[in-house]
Point group: C2
Chain length 230, copies 2
DNA sequence: AAGCCTTTGTGAATACGCGCACAAAGTCGC
DNA sequence: GCGACTTTGTGCGCGTATTCACAAAGGCTT
């Protein structure tokens, strides 16, 4: 279930506040979901609650961590060390949840050799070596769109079976490989869609908040869009 | 629909290759979805296809752009200029799709005043001014978790009605405000979950690819997790 | 110890999304 | 101009997710 990590985060926050026990109602509220949904989700991994009391935070944290596979370490390689790759390398949420970044790789000679977050950026040529030596099972692709499929093919050939893709392309992979995609601009586009809806829809009245710029662009042909670089 | 931006990206790629017309089958394949689903999605915004031929790429690009509200400019402010905020500020996928970054804001005096992607980072104190002066309608929150809710409350009070949240917290907002959340570590956790499944599940056999590290950690109490910083 | 109160776990109803499969519609070749 | 072929648009059935509502279960108070 995709919601377990959210529950886990909420539970960690409760732990930090010293809360020992939590009801489904409270936890659901903290996680932003319906309480029945939360109880059903938790029941799928066993009955760890006590009726009349709630769930023991520490025990639940352990059970969810185990279910998600966070009780073991996962070895990650980040390919593409641009702005985004750098941000990912320094992201605290990885190391603290059992994800160990074993390699940073880039094709740009100016970036190779730089030290980032305690790691030296390696050359993309060493991709297969790094994957093999460290036992990388998850690859994070943060390259420009044009390079992503090629990199993906290589990491898959080297034995990686999970890919987190930040490049704005649809990767094609064998059926045994999992790909998850994070696309920064798609999220913004979805927000723009809802924002427009609030303002009356594509055919409705404009001029509300956020529409003071370029009211009449809709009447023109769209400009030539440039494919997003990294 | 959350898939429209994906279609749009695929269409732009086709446009760049000079393709004038495309069938639902081809476009669906490029977007990584079922062709029937694609046709149903497109039919929801009107019938823009020609039976026996397909869809005219340019016309479809325009229609989807209009539906998504990309035929107008959206003014964005990025709050929190750490690694991630910097990456977002330099992300080409924003400007090319009608999203204009009007302000970069941070609370750290060492960051305020720096020039990033052609903009000077302002102090968070000027948040309300920046939102008002530029007509910001979408706020991107890339602050540490602890600061996110406070920043969110302020941007909402200042009139922003759409928030893109990169901080690892569940933001609470009035019902008229849209929030979308991008959580880098959650995506990895979901991958780890599937990866573990492939290796036999939490109770199954270990030792396959990616599990050569810390096989026995599951037997120990989980370590104290540190809440993710930015 | 007994009853009340809180909270879980889950059956059942509902809503939703997905994909198949096909008829309608339009094009292209002859 | 006509028929065969291609492709769209969509009705329908199915499986999954979501929510409601309540009975079972445990703790707490008296």
């Amino acid at each position: 279930m995709a919601r377990l990590p959210v529950y886990l985060r909420a539970l960690h926050a409760l732990q930090d506040r010293g809360v020992a026990t939590v009801s489904s109602e409270e936890l659901a509220s903290a996680a932003g979901v319906n309480s029945a949904k939360l109880r059903k989700d938790l029941s799928h991994l066993g009955s760890y609650g006590t009726r009349g009391v709630g769930y023991e935070v520490e025990y639940l944290v352990y059970q969810i961590s185990r279910e998600l596979g966070l009780t073991q370490d996962w070895v990650v390689a980040i390919i593409g060390v641009g702005n985004l790759g750098r941000a990912l390398a320094g992201y605290g949420g990885f190391a603290s949840r059992g994800f160990r970044v074993a390699g940073l790789l880039d094709a740009d000679e100016r970036i190779v050799g730089q030290e980032i977050a305690g790691l030296t950026v390696g050359h993309i040529d060493r991709l297969e070596d790094v994957i093999g030596e460290h036992g990388v099972s998850i690859a994070v692709i943060a390259t420009p769109a044009a390079a992503a499929q090629g990199v993906c093919d290589r990491v898959v050939a080297a034995g990686v079976t999970s890919v987190l893709n930040f490049a704005p392309v649809v990767l094609s992979v064998p059926e045994w490989v999992d790909v998850r995609k994070v696309d920064l601009s798609i999220e913004l586009q979805i927000l723009a869609f809802h924002e427009q809806r609030k303002a009356g829809g594509p055919d409705g009245v404009r001029g509300l908040n956020g529409t003071r710029a370029a009211l009449d662009r809709a009447a023109r042909e769209p400009v030539q869009y440039v494919e997003a670089a990294e």
